[in-house]
C-alpha cells in the first residue's frame, strides 16, 4: 500500500514538474508550484519526515504562492519570449549537469540500507541518547537546535540576509533603505465583507496556532521556522484584506525591522553567554545547574529567536512588495 502511494505521488510530482516547464503564463506556473509543494508535503508525511512536511505545508500552502503572486503583480503576468536566448546551450548544460548528478547517485548506498554511512556515523547516538542528553522527545528538534545549532544559526542568518536584500532591492528612492509604506489607502469601493468577517474569526486562531507550534516543537512536529511562517501568514492575510496602512498601524514597520535583527541577536547572545563562562559557543550547559534543564532552556530560547526572525523577515518582505505595487498604481 505504502509503496503504491509512494509511486503514485512521485509520478504526480514528475508530471507537475513537466507541466511547470511546458506551461506559459506566470500565474499558471505559480499554481503548479503550489501543487508541487502540496505533493512534496504529502510525500514527506509518508516518508515519516514530519517536521519537514510541516515546514513544506506552512510555506507551500500559504506564503510562497503569495509572495510569488505579489512579485507577479509587480512585474506583470506574461512570460516574455526571449529572442536572444540559445536554448541549445542551456539544454546541453542542464543535460550534462543532470547526467553528472545521476552518476553521483550510483555511488550512493541503496535507499533504506542499514549500513549506509548516514546511519553509522552520528545518527545512532542522536537516536539513542538525545532523549537522555537533552530531555526532549522530538529528536529532530534536539538535533536541529542543540547538536547542530551552528547550522541552524547559519540558516537563520541566511533568512535575515534575504530580508535585508529584499529591502535594499525594493526600497524606493524617497525612503531609502526602508520598506515603510507611504501610499494612500487602497480603494475601498468594493468591500470584501465575506472575506473580512471570516478572516476576523480565523486570524486570532492562526496566530495562536503559531504560538502553539513554537512552544510544542519539543514534543511534536514544529518549531521556530514553522511558527514564524504561520504567524506571518496571519498578519499578511490581515494586510491583504484591510490594506497596507491598516496592517502598518497594527505592527509598525520599524518594529518589524528591529525584530528581524533581534531574533538573530537572541540566538547569537545565547552562544556568547556560554563562551563567557569558558565553554564552547552555543554550549547550553551554563544556562542552569542541571544540564538537561539547561539544554531545554537553551533550545527554547534559540527556537524563539528563530521564530522571531522568520516571522519578521516574511512580514518585512510583504511590506516591501505591497508597498511596491500599491504605489506603482498612482
Amino acid at each position: 500500500m505504502e509503496l503504491a502511494v509512494n509511486i503514485v505521488l512521485l509520478s504526480l510530482l514528475v508530471t507537475t514538474a513537466a507541466a511547470l516547464v511546458l506551461v506559459r503564463g506566470l500565474l499558471a506556473s505559480i499554481m503548479l508550484t503550489s501543487i508541487y509543494g502540496l505533493l512534496s508535503a504529502s510525500f514527506f508525511v509518508i516518508m515519516d519526515a514530519v517536521d519537514v512536511a510541516f515546514t513544506e505545508a506552512a510555506v507551500g500552502a500559504g506564503v510562497s504562492p503569495l509572495l510569488l503572486l505579489l512579485s507577479v503583480a509587480v512585474i506583470g503576468r506574461h512570460e516574455a519570449r526571449n529572442a536572444g536566448a540559445r536554448p541549445l546551450f542551456a539544454v546541453l548544460l542542464v543535460g550534462i549537469t543532470g547526467a553528472l548528478l545521476i552518476v553521483g547517485t550510483l555511488d550512493m548506498p541503496a535507499f533504506g540500507r542499514a549500513d549506509a554511512p548516514a546511519h553509522l556515523h552520528v545518527a545512532p547516538r542522536y537516536l539513542l541518547l538525545s532523549g537522555e542528553e537533552t530531555g526532549i522527545p522530538n529528536v529532530v528538534t534536539s538535533v536541529l537546535a542543540s547538536y547542530r545549532a551552528y547550522d541552524t544559526l547559519g540558516e537563520v542568518i541566511v533568512i535575515f540576509t534575504a530580508g535585508v536584500a529584499v529591502i535594499l532591492i525594493l526600497a524606493s528612492g524617497t525612503h531609502r533603505g526602508s520598506a515603510r509604506p507611504h501610499s494612500a489607502p487602497v480603494d475601498t469601493k468594493d468591500p470584501h465583507t465575506i472575506l473580512q468577517v471570516v478572516s476576523k474569526t480565523m486570524i486570532p486562531f492562526m496566530l495562536l496556532f503559531a504560538f502553539y507550534v513554537q512552544f510544542h516543537g519539543d514534543y511534536g512536529p514544529g518549531g521556530g521556522f514553522q511558527a514564524g511562517v504561520i504567524f506571518a501568514s496571519g498578519i499578511i492575510l490581515y494586510g491583504l484584506l484591510y490594506g497596507l496602512p491598516a496592517i502598518c498601524r497594527v505592527i509598525r514597520p520599524p518594529v518589524v525591522e528591529l525584530c528581524s535583527a533581534l531574533g538573530v541577536l537572541v540566538y547569537g547572545v545565547t552562544g556568547i553567554l556560554s563562551m563567557l563562562q569558558g565553554r564552547p559557543f552555543l554550549d547550553y550547559s551554563v544556562l542552569a545547574d542541571d544540564p538537561i534543564r539547561a539544554q531545554q532552556i537553551g533550545i527554547m530560547v534559540i527556537e524563539l529567536g528563530v521564530g522571531i526572525t522568520v516571522a519578521s523577515v516574511l512580514i518585512v518582505i510583504y511590506y516591501a512588495f505591497a508597498n511596491q505595487f500599491e504605489t506603482n498604481g498612482n
Binding site: 465575506i194 514534543y219 498601524r249
Partner: protein
C-alpha cells in the same frame, strides 16, 4: 468587553485542546500566548460582534441543523446531475434582495448559499447578492426565501 472575554475563552480552549501537555511551563506559556494574541487582535480591531457572534449562539444550533439537511439534499441533486448526463441543467445568474441588516447575517446568508452545492454567491453588495445557480430550480428555491428568512430570524 464581552467580546474580549469571549475571544480569550475561545483561544484558551483552542490552546488546551491542541496542547495535550498540562505542565506548569507549557500552561504559563499558554497564558502568555493567549494574552499576546488577544493584544494583537485588539490592535487589529477584529474583536467585535462580527468575529465573536455571541448574540447568535442561542439560535444558531437549530439553524445549522436545518442547513445540514439542505446541504445533504442539494448534494444528492448534484450527484444525480454529475452521474446522469442526460439531465438538462439550466444555469442561471441573478440578483437576490438582502433584507438582513447586519454584516454578520449577510455573511451567514452568503456563506450558507456557498455551502450548499449548486448555488454560489458571486458578489455581496450592500443591498443585493449576485448568485450563480446550476439549475433554475435552485434559483427558484433561493428566491422563495426560506433560507433568507431563517437567517434573519437568527438575530431576533
Amino acid at each position: 468587553m464581552r467580546y474580549t472575554f469571549g475571544l480569550v475563552l475561545a483561544l484558551s480552549v483552542f490552546w488546551l485542546i491542541n496542547s495535550g501537555h498540562y505542565d506548569a511551563l507549557l500552561l504559563s506559556l499558554g497564558v502568555i500566548s493567549v494574552g499576546a494574541v488577544t493584544l494583537i487582535a485588539l490592535r487589529m480591531d477584529v474583536v467585535d460582534q462580527e468575529s465573536i457572534p455571541l448574540h447568535l449562539l442561542r439560535r444558531i444550533p437549530f439553524y445549522l441543523l436545518w442547513l445540514g439537511v439542505q446541504i445533504c439534499r442539494s448534494n444528492l441533486d448534484l450527484v444525480r446531475r454529475v452521474w446522469l448526463p442526460g439531465q438538462r441543467s439550466t444555469p442561471r445568474i441573478a440578483r437576490l434582495p438582502l433584507p438582513q441588516y447586519s454584516d454578520i447575517c449577510r455573511v451567514v446568508y452568503a456563506n450558507s448559499i456557498n455551502l450548499t452545492p449548486g448555488t454560489l454567491t458571486v458578489e455581496l453588495a450592500p443591498d443585493h447578492l449576485l448568485v450563480h445557480t446550476l439549475s433554475a430550480e435552485g434559483l427558484a428555491a433561493l428566491e422563495e426565501g426560506e433560507m433568507s428568512r431563517r437567517v434573519s430570524e437568527l438575530e431576533q
